[in-house]
Symmetry: C2
């Protein structure tokens, strides 16, 4: 990483610095390498600490750097592509390698936005299943899945009222419904304290919030609000999911 | 908005403050209302300015607040759902109400990541069409669409070499290819200076970067890198796009 004086550049200084730093990351640093401290970096590039910090923040947004307390700033590995489009995968919990792991279940009211999608009343108690999505041994997403009692009519009331066993019972009943379709939205959010803990992030860290409506039996059978780590995840939406549905449907129609 | 002393709370102070502020926004403020200044707000809630700023930053990430220089902090309207899943829409430029507007075209090399997806060499010149997506009169996304010469073999060389007319010519030729499929990824990014200007944001503002591969004639015909405003947009992915492809395919198979 050479010394570059940025005094004469017309565009915002932090922006140009970001570009220069980005190129330096490509050429001079391996994944996992620790960057020099802020004071040294600022001196090397002839910029104020505030300018350096702005550039580092942007590289963090872009997933190029990780900044952790006590560890410092390290070069991030490329983001991992996480498939979110395969209906069957998310609905049933996926294969062992890339699974949603049920960790808890509670009975509670849903937030107003979820209530509106479920078409339930604000006071109605729903099952709230909490799952963690694990990919290559790392937690990449935390989910709350809201399921009205009407979606799982045959759920046994004598089961334990909470815990992972309860979560599995609720999911088993839910999956007996034939999934008819789904829609999704993705937006930027900040990690809630409980999600942040599961994802090894600080509360308020930027996350990608994926909200999914699952349609079955002519209505909305469940709503999922999943929080993906924005620093390490790239969400992928393929045609493959749609094609799989197509094949399933053709098989069903043919049978 | 009442006075709440937060000294005794165990969870991170900024986090609790964010929750309290969020409720205050729901109950006491209309969309577009200007919040009191930071000093007054900090005093009212009995917190340090730094704590207040952390909470405001998180509410901004969640799309609840807009912060603009000179204007101050205002209550944001709910995010607008922007459909990105309907293949035909993005491919052909969409309907008049929610259109991708071609604004320029250049001949240039593509970034390494795009070159890898297009399966072209690093030195190969491709058409780079720049489009802006406008919804309800507002620019919500800026796009660079990379198109190898091989995807538009009949493009006239005597056209003007750049500008919106050239962009339209390239798109017209591209759309003669039958679209066979697409895949997409969504990740967090920071706005490049040119995109930021189009989107009325500062360079480095958080954006959602949607990368789309368009498949035609057995290969990747084009790659789109679109930058959506993360503060105002919620990206939606419906089943409808997939179902439309299905119907087209069935019709083609039947004919």
């Amino acid at each position: 990483m050479g010394t570059t004086q940025l005094e004469s550049v017309q565009e915002p200084k932090y922006w140009h610095l970001k570009t220069v730093l980005s190129e330096a990351l490509d050429s001079d640093f391996a994944v996992g390498a620790v960057l020099p401290n802020e004071r040294d970096l600022a001196a090397r590039f002839g910029v104020a600490r505030a300018t350096l910090r702005q550039a580092l923040e942007q590289l963090e947004l872009e997933g190029r750097l990780h900044r952790r307390r006590g560890v410092g700033t390290t070069v991030a590995p490329p983001r991992v592509g996480i498939a979110v489009s395969t209906a069957q995968h998310d609905w049933t919990g996926g294969v062992a390698d890339e699974a949603w792991q049920p960790i808890d279940c509670a009975t509670d009211t849903a937030p107003a936005a979820v209530t509106a999608m479920l078409d339930t009343s604000a006071e109605e108690q729903v099952h709230v299943v909490r799952r963690i999505r694990v990919t290559h041994g790392q937690s990449v997403a935390a989910e709350l899945l809201y399921i009205p009692a009407s979606s799982v009519p045959e759920l046994s009331a004598i089961d334990s009222p909470s815990g992972p066993a309860r979560a599995r019972s609720v999911l088993r009943e839910l999956h007996r419904l034939g999934l008819e379709g789904q829609d999704r939205s993705v937006e930027l959010g900040s990690a809630r304290a409980d999600d942040a803990k599961e994802l090894d992030r600080l509360p308020g860290a930027p996350v990608l919030v994926v909200t999914t409506r699952y349609f079955a039996a002519g209505g909305t059978a469940a709503v999922s609000v999943a929080t993906y780590r924005a620093d390490t995840c790239r969400l992928t939406f393929g045609d493959s999911g749609a094609l799989e549905i197509t094949h399933d449907e053709q098989a069903r129609q043919a049978s």
